[in-house]
Symmetry: C2
Subunit: 562 residues, 2 copies
């Protein structure tokens, strides 16, 4: 019997994973990978750490834990997979099930027949049509040559200033990489706050302040008009508001899927140019599968199409494709839009839906912002985090979370991933039996605190304002009275809310409650609004009816303090 021929175009994340998984499931198949670049199965997500010199050698990004380079020879001897590098697929003949590819060095064309074809053609960084974007030292960071060029420039010692255009995940990871190497970094983005795909404006404002404290300038809501140079080498960036010096520039404004091959072959594409696949990752031609950055996928919660070009998604889809080619009929579960990054001492992440996405998907979202320590205050290394938790009012299902802080954020995020994936209710999360010992958590984990606070709000046990809502109230008619129950020393240390307020430390509130007006709404807060909660109880006990809480207290206040 003829061996089944599986041809895979692309050998980085999805393609390499498909090949490796399939070789294990079906050693009898004839598996071939065509990769246009020189490097296979490299860890592109590691590039910012390579550029930042956390990872010293590029080989670390392309080798196994044992130090063996994952090259064509490795794939041949260990995986029984044939790989052609420097091999650009140029045409798919669907009728004859054959792909034409050309050798990058010789230009020689060759035909590769297939029984199943896998398109793992990935994506490419967008080079916006800005004058000067073709100057030397204007980089993108997507391929191994990109990473090598950028690291080489940095190692030359000539880079004192850098401008990063685009404050998404890659841009902000490189912010840290460059700043830690002593480069003066500025970030420019057309939107007003960093990481807009990950977190809302309130978190974004705090992130901008946090990077400022590390010497990094963030210029939001600005449009880059020109990249200037001298002698063919970049010297600066002009925006519609300022000129910035730059010994190097990183373009990190987004990516587009590599789907011309699919388009030319007549496969169905989505309006954004990604390849349309079904639950089994099959394209509109059932003998052709596609996965990774080049495909449109499905959101696990909304069930709607979504594009989530991430290394983790690509790996998951590679497994699913291999399973299906091997006849296992494994569906792809979908994505949650999970993302995370380390930014200096902060960890910032998101999973599931934010409120806007939840509304668009037809839910009735309720959200809460809480500020929590990640372990008991008596344990060394305690960090803090802000959690915004979103649930559906009717079903009480957890829809998503955004978490940010100096504490162990990734742990809480991954528990939220499991909660959102499985449709957990806010009630079950609030009563979760999470692992507690002092080195790891508080007796009730931050996630359960967030869920409990959200329950309180959903069940009408407490009236709360988020910072933005409170600011609107304070700047509108009949503003409430603000009651800060911190100690005076904390006010000096942590700052004051920029409106008129009354300061009565919680311990004095019972005896001094008579000083407060009974005909006006009172909004209480403290550092993180735990004492604020107690203040509400004290006021209610003293007969005050219209009392509310500022969610997350002063720590979650994203605007200027005074």
């Amino acid at each position: 019997m003829e061996r089944k021929k599986v041809l895979i175009i692309g050998g980085v994340a999805c393609g390499a994973k498909t090949a490796a998984r399939l070789a294990r499931l079906a050693p009898e198949f004839d598996i071939t990978v065509l990769e246009r670049g020189e490097h296979l199965s490299f860890a592109g997500c590691g590039f910012p750490y390579f550029v930042g010199d956390v990872v010293k050698e590029y080989k670390d990004l392309v080798c196994t834990p044992l130090g063996i380079i994952r090259d064509a020879n490795f794939f041949r001897t260990v995986k029984n997979v044939t790989v052609h590098t420097g091999c650009l697929a140029t045409r798919i003949d669907r009728e004859n099930r054959c792909v034409t590819a050309s050798d990058a060095s010789t230009g020689e064309e060759k035909n590769f027949p297939y029984d199943n074809l896998v398109l793992a053609t990935g994506a490419s960084p967008i080079r916006p049509p800005i004058p000067g974007s073709d100057l030397n030292r204007v980089f993108t960071l997507w391929t191994m040559p990109d990473a090598l060029a950028m690291k080489s420039a940095l190692s030359s010692g000539n880079i004192k200033t850098a401008v990063i255009i685009g404050a998404g995940l890659i841009g902000m990871e490189v912010v840290e990489a460059l700043a830690e190497r002593g480069v003066k970094v500025s970030v420019v983005d057309a939107l007003s706050t960093p990481l807009p795909a990950l977190v809302g404006e309130d978190f974004g404002l705090r992130i901008a302040r946090a990077v400022k404290a590390k010497g990094v300038d963030f210029f939001g809501g600005e449009k880059v008009t020109e990249i200037t140079g001298e002698g063919g080498v970049v010297t600066g960036v002009r925006t519609d508001r300022r000129s910035l010096p730059a010994d190097m520039v990183l373009l990190a404004v987004g990516i587009r899927p590599n789907t011309s091959l699919a388009r030319d072959a007549g496969l169905e594409l989505a309006p954004n140019g990604t390849i349309v696949v079904d639950e089994l990752m099959r394209t509109s031609d059932p003998s052709i599968y596609a996965g990774g950055d080049c495909v449109q996928t499905r959101h696990l919660v909304t069930k709607k199409p979504v594009w989530q070009p991430m290394g983790s998604t690509a790996n998951r889809q590679g497994r699913v494709i291999a399973d299906n080619i091997a006849g296992l009929a494994t569906p792809f579960s979908g994505v949650l839009g999970t993302g995370i990054l380390k930014l200096f001492n902060l960890t910032i992440g998101k999973t599931g839906l934010d409120e806007k996405q939840a509304k668009e998907a037809g839910f009735e979202p309720v959200s809460i912002v809480v500020e929590e320590p990640d372990r008991p205050h008596f344990m060394p290394g305690m960090g803090a985090m802000t959690i915004r938790l979103v649930a559906d009012r009717l079903s009480r299902r957890i829809l998503g979370a955004q978490i940010m802080g100096t504490g162990v954020v990734d742990k809480r995020l991954d528990a939220m991933v499991a909660a959102v994936s499985s449709g957990m209710t806010v009630d079950l999360l609030a009563d979760g039996d999470f692992a507690y010992a002092p080195p790891f958590s508080t007796a009730l984990d931050p996630n359960t605190h967030a869920a409990n606070a959200l329950k309180n709000k959903m069940d009408g046990l407490v009236k709360t304002y988020q910072a933005k809502e409170l600011r609107e109230r304070m700047e509108g008619p009949n503003p409430p009275l603000l009651l800060d129950v911190r100690t005076p020393g904390e006010l000096d240390l942590q700052g004051r809310i920029p409106y008129e307020f009354v300061n009565i430390p919680l311990g004095k509130l019972r005896e001094r409650a008579g000083e407060l007006p009974r005909d006006r709404e009172i909004v209480a807060f403290c550092k993180i609004s735990v004492r604020g909660w107690d203040a509400l109880a004290t006021l209610k006990g003293a007969g005050f009816d219209d009392v509310a809480l500022l969610e997350g207290g002063i720590m979650a206040w994203p605007y200027e303090l005074k």
Copy 2:
């Protein structure tokens, strides 16, 4: 209208939480707490860290993050809760809804009427009837006076050797505390391996080796026969097999619930002496609630009664009791038996059911052991972990997990908590959209690797042996041929399996497969059995039919290596 009187007996975890939550929900209630000790709301889980001097001052364990001691005055001014310390409840008069209590210093008796009573009487450490257990410097570690006495003894400089009797959570936490202070520690337990309630024998053997490497001797399967002393002070411990010198002894053999008050009042108790409560935490008298270490609760997966005396459970139950007294009708979700501890550079934890518990509960458990890195090998600080994942064959539901390692274990455990709580299937977990960036995880998280491996096993894609199963096969008739596909250097570094084996590094297997017999089962493995998987594919591709994998490879092998 008369204020509703809520009386709470016990002011540590459950009692203090009930009072604090209830004061927020119902400021109009008259809330009183009777605590027999001097300290309220203290962090008992922090005692091992206090004894180990990680926490310097005992005040850190009884104060708020702001440094305010949670004493009776604090509860009065901040929480509007009346607290009587040094006040021992002696009798419940259910008919007249009244509790009699005596003042510890004056002996004076006083009556406390109630509308709702809450029993949060906790538990007490068992002092086994061993001769010598009343000697000086034979400690338990349960109350603040216990902790102060133990720390004072350690600070005297006279403690060179210590014996810990009981290798449960508290015992093993104190192992680290003492060893880090330079004390030579021995642990004695009647069972053969440490932490038997948390992990199975295979993990336990590895834990015993790990503490041995830190200079700690573990003597399993030994019975303590006598604690010896001189001049009233302990000098050693005798077991049925040896004598151990000891300048101090910790008795950590377990606890029993404090329920004589409930028993005398005629409330229903379970056979183990814990108080029986319903889903709303009500005892057999609906005006009396109970929670914390003194009650029997329900397992979330099995729905069967279980006793889980943990600080986190007590806090959760305190909230639920407060809700129900305030009329919110909140059910307690149940427990998963989650536990975690830090032990030197290891983190060890469990949630949900192990295989034995799953079988007893009527499931058909399938388990897998995997060995995984916690982030890419190129990132600094990479750690490893072993995951044992258990699922039900029929429903494919995740039933539980035990995780152990030098890596970030607590994160994977909490994601498993969410997965088990919500009844997630192995398929959904395997395809989880967990947060990936190189500082935090591998592209596919260890949990998803574990789930994928378990799927492979459940779906019959691979035949595997766990270490114990392989050992049985090797010591029975017709043992399989062992194929170690590591490099010779790794064999020297990591050790060799203590049976006859063939060593062919994976990269040579394709060309050398002909050396292997075709009429004998072959079991392949490597360091963590990833290359072992590839070896299976290579062998299958070469026509070998009867091939299997050692789960977790050499790293998960718990027995001696050679």
